[in-house]
Amino acid sequence: MRFSGILALLLEGAGYTLLVTVSCVITGLVTGLGIVALRRLFGKGVARLLALYTYVFRGIPVLVLLFIVFFGLPGLGIRPSPLVSMMLSLGLVCGAYLAEVFRGALDAVDPHEIIAAEVMGLSRLQVILSIEFPQMLRLAVPGMLNEFTTVLKYSPFGYTVGIPEITKQAMALASTTLRGIEIYTAVGVLYFGIYQLLCLLMRMIERKFRVPGFATQ
């Protein structure tokens, strides 16, 4: 097999890697933001439940969680697809970590600004959406990039549930062509390329929403 053919198959795998990464990042973002918003909106009881969720999901290996979802749930009559299984395992773990990143960033929002917004008559949700989240997200950029990178690096677990992402393609190609060194080097380069793409995307977002004298400068 010519190397261009190998590369084409690896690029096809890269598409799946991107799909898994983006799906899990979106799941993580929605979960993380949801946890932070619920914590701010409701009392200590809800906050304790959410703290338990983040505590448990940060403590279980992603692979074990993936197996519980993909191989365990069918026993209860629920058959999630491989991508959904990744979102319910890696995505939710990412959400638990992001909730912690957001919590730290939220602590850096000036409490006087929050009080000023409440005093003006804004509702709790309006304060969260207009004051707390916009500042929190700007402050959380470095932590978010770190988490997104972790998701990318855990995405090869998709291989275990049959998603033909880069690593699965590479293993299949290496076993049939015996050109492991070239193939896995190409895999490393591809992952690094995707990582750089993520960094570039985050830098663009950061630049677009940059506020002089605030946050990450």
């Binding site: 006087h112 000023a116 005093v119 008559g121 804004l122 207009s130 500042q135 004298g213 605030f214």
Partner: protein, 245 residues
């Protein structure tokens, strides 16, 4: 007619009584300054009046309606009060203009164009029109205070509360703020100002309330209270010799 009528207001923190039966009135168009030693409950009083803190007793009548009752629409009540903070509390991620239009868009439901127009008017009134696209980090403290006042005024409040408006400013900037408050006073804006600044009190009002031990100990004209009041403790607080008659 009294815009605000406070009767026997009580506030406790962990069993410690901070406000112990505060009673006074604020009429429409009037400016009153509340002074007193640190920890006497001045800021607590302001925060109880807009229900940022829950009073433990007493009544707060706002245009005749008791707003200390549990079923009061607190958000509605707060929208009638403009609040200017000691720390300015400008939203750092928003421009000067956006700081002012936020409340107009979210609470008054104005369109962006209408909110911008109203905000621009208030900024011109505070001589801050040229700075509307700047972020708070690029403003001097005096400019921040002017923006904070413009933000409060844009909501057309029935009364403006100032919580130590000059404590973060140098004497020159304090005079600027005093001039702004005086300008508003000449426009009949109702104001209640908590301050330590004797000079500010002299400049902006003819009525000073002296708060001590959680109670109104005296309410008098600024001149009387600050210089020749009968109570030696009050004279002493304002730096006058106790023996002065």
């Amino acid at each position: 007619m009294a815009l605000l009528e406070i009767k026997d207001l009580v506030k406790r923190f962990d069993g410690r009584t901070v406000l112990n039966g505060v009673t006074f009135e604020l009429n429409e168009g009037q400016t009153k300054v509340i002074m007193g030693p640190s920890g006497c409950g001045k800021s607590t009083l302001l925060r109880c009046l807009n229900r940022l803190l829950e009073p433990d007793g007493g009544q707060i009548f706002f245009r005749g309606e008791d707003v200390a009752l549990p079923d009061t629409d607190i958000r509605q009540h707060r929208q009638r009060i403009g609040f200017v903070f000691q720390q300015f509390a400008l939203y750092r991620h928003l421009t000067v203009l956006e700081n002012i239009t936020l409340g107009l868009r979210k609470l008054r439901r104005l369109s962006t164009a209408a909110a911008d127009k109203k905000a621009a008017y208030q900024l011109e009134r505070m001589e801050m029109g040229a700075h509307r696209l700047k972020y708070p980090a690029h403003l001097s403290v005096g400019q921040k205070q002017r923006v904070a006042i413009a933000r409060a005024l844009a909501m057309d409040p029935a009364v403006l509360f100032f919580d130590e408006p000059t404590s973060a400013l140098d004497p020159l900037m304090s005079l600027e703020v005093a001039a702004v408050i005086n300008q508003l006073r000449s426009e009949n804006v109702t104001m209640l100002c908590v301050t330590h600044d004797v000079s500010l009190a002299r400049h902006v009002t003819d009525r000073v309330i002296f708060l001590d031990d959680g109670q109104v100990k005296a309410e008098d004209s600024a001149e009387q209270l600050l210089t020749t009041h009968a109570d030696p403790r009050i004279r002493q607080f304002f730096g006058q010799p106790a023996a002065l008659k």
